[in-house]
Symmetry: C2
Subunit: 489 residues, 2 copies
Amino acid sequence: MSTMLWEQIIVDTEDRIPLYKQISQQFEQMVHEGRLKPGVRLPSERKMAEILRVSRMTLTLAYEEMKSRGIVRSQQGSGTFIMKGPRIDTSEQAITWHTNFAYQTDSVNLAMEEIMRFGRDSNLIHLAGVGTAAEVHPGIDFSQCFAEHLRKNPILLQLPAPTKGYEPLIHEVQSWLQDGGILAEEKEIMIVSGAMQGLDLISRLFLGPDDYVIMEDPGFLAASDAFAATGAKILRITHDREGIKVDSIENLLMQFPVKFIYINPTFHNPTGITMSLQRRKKLLEIAKKYRVPIVEDDPNSLLYYKRKPVPSFKSLDKDHLVIHLQSFSKYLFPTIRVAVLVAPVGIISNLVKIKQRVDLHSNNLTQIAVHGYLAEGRLHKHVKKLREAYDIRLALIKKILSNKPNLECVFPDGGVFLWCKIPKGISSERLLEIALKKGVSFVPGSWMSGVGMYENYIRLAFTHPPPEALEKGIDLIDQAINEYYSYQY
Amino acid sequence: MSTMLWEQIIVDTEDRIPLYKQISQQFEQMVHEGRLKPGVRLPSERKMAEILRVSRMTLTLAYEEMKSRGIVRSQQGSGTFIMKGPRIDTSEQAITWHTNFAYQTDSVNLAMEEIMRFGRDSNLIHLAGVGTAAEVHPGIDFSQCFAEHLRKNPILLQLPAPTKGYEPLIHEVQSWLQDGGILAEEKEIMIVSGAMQGLDLISRLFLGPDDYVIMEDPGFLAASDAFAATGAKILRITHDREGIKVDSIENLLMQFPVKFIYINPTFHNPTGITMSLQRRKKLLEIAKKYRVPIVEDDPNSLLYYKRKPVPSFKSLDKDHLVIHLQSFSKYLFPTIRVAVLVAPVGIISNLVKIKQRVDLHSNNLTQIAVHGYLAEGRLHKHVKKLREAYDIRLALIKKILSNKPNLECVFPDGGVFLWCKIPKGISSERLLEIALKKGVSFVPGSWMSGVGMYENYIRLAFTHPPPEALEKGIDLIDQAINEYYSYQY
């Protein structure tokens, strides 16, 4: 396609509308006017930046904006394409269903889908998503425990289930939280179908199209996806070695009416960084000063390798500022879909009202199973085993990486992720294309960013494959890097 | 409170805004201006209708509108109260959380909450909500089956779970649907966490604040609740003996851009009515003519007592007009939270995208359990047992009611509900107050209505309590009716 079309895009630096918005708006108009047809491949960000005479970052923001608005979709390796426009669905005749949609499903992040797909592909060494290590998977122990409970007491299945959660489980969870330094009353605890549902309920309660939310960049994909679903604007804050930059947060709080701050402060996904105690206290102060809630996502702080991490925000919170999310996915297995949400009573009561409309209550069978496993102290034992196993894995990885200069990784003190820098100039999305052909998956850094950064970073989840597969997988990624420039697409 | 305040409400019949809206808007303004304080009890609809010189129906609509907007809340028996205004929550100091809410949780229907609460109150004979009869509860059989599966094959718990559902279950469900006359491909089937989640996903996909949806009146509470959550307007259609009035539907379709028609055509909740085949065909024609999807909620058409009901809409649908929801709650037990959604591929793919943001995927443990129970043909046998058991129960109820002239009930050909007329002038909501004190629960007809009708109807769910409790419960309701006028509040 000639560059003529692009040259019609006028960027006015005098205008009070941000440059990236000016660009994305004009693109959207072209699409609606049919001047840009679905499927059209856009020039690379670099090329387009030259054409429009704007900075690479402005262009990246413009493309991200268009992605989030479902105007374009980028496909790993192959570029960015126009999405919107009349869609054809051969399976429907009588109704053009899509014209009836109120929900902009084009805007749903494709990365999560991809990662889940990789996990189901048995031909791949899965370093993209988290799974429980086979050598310590609680499946057998867990199902025996549960089978016994069911055999002894099948009447369990006839119990009514409150929206807030299975009471005996909430009771057990209370002391489980206490072990972690969180003193919560039972009325401050609710059970949700995985942290994902917690994020969805919180998003629905607080966020609308005109709202702002702050989160880390890079940060948890599924979280930004849940926030984006409400139409809210996501403000991104970067990290340093001590964690998210608190000064930058205050800076944003002065300018935007932020609904809440979402953080994953311990063994952060994807960087593995743990926020320092000093900085946690500072963020709590600021949150109090600006009266902004903090949503603390804490999926794996019990998976420390050597020593316990600093206290959670919830345990430091004296002012009822914090909503705490703790999933059992990493402690048991991801498909269990049981997580705990701890918040002030006034929040729980409202989240419960929304949940009632969403699924009435979480599945009882699983809540009963987790309760049994928790009540008999088996989970505590199991988590200890996980810590040991993952410590061993990390040692193995350090050995493997010692002779892999292509992968500069930060080694965390706990958790399940490795954040690695790859040589400058290599696109992690294109690298993934090569790696997949070689039989290994990982998450490109850019997928974890809301502003198109971390192009030359990758996230490795090291808890799932057996040790030998782990070694092979990392070797394959290293090979992919070495062959990157010679590789034919 | 003097009627002076109400007389400030001006109703202009010339105005193009509907009368009921004029009224509700002025109420809302009074609340926001502080002229009406939270907790204030409003005059009865009859009284207020006189004061404002409008019809009772206009007033009912105005009050319903205010309820749905969270301006007022009605409490059974005790009247309608102003809700909105500065709320106090002692548990939070630093943040006035509620001011941060985007979701109007005041608008959540309280009836569902009540019904669930009744179900957990062991002192009550529970005729309000559905449960599986103890004499045929599959708990033991189901848990044995599941326990075996887990023991034999604990690796099951390590399987990845697609958002669309556990594949082996979808495969089994396909032939299960085929037995019911529904020919669907696996890609047209998805598993959801109960029909409630199905309704939530459908609502999110299709409905926004400016949209319209048609449903039955009286109709399924949780459905109207899910629709209302999107801000969409719900248009209500009444029944006759043949089911929902199709002519009235066409009438509405001519006037409003309706997103979909929600129906529960077989053993309808709460009336028990089954829509005739002729009328089903007519509705399908109209839906095709106006290009409006039909959402068919079909939770219990297999629970027929004597002969099979007429074919489902999905099985009659040649034009991909129908989204079919089928829950296992009534066939197994309500806390199982597994339901099937059948729709055109283009719909499934979009619902899956939304579900990914909502909970990533439904709980695998339960899907595995249901799969095992289904694959071994145990569910088919069990449903047959249910039919026999419920047929016996209905016979018992007919006997009990033969000498209860206060309760004029319609006896259905299947399902789990009895819809009974109580003597004119008796408020079913007030009657519930008395009945609860006597130790029995039921659902007042007005709770099932979106327009405040069916004041002198009640819904009895007869599948849960043991036969003797069932008889006692009905006796207590009869007593409550006899004591109604003499009863002291």
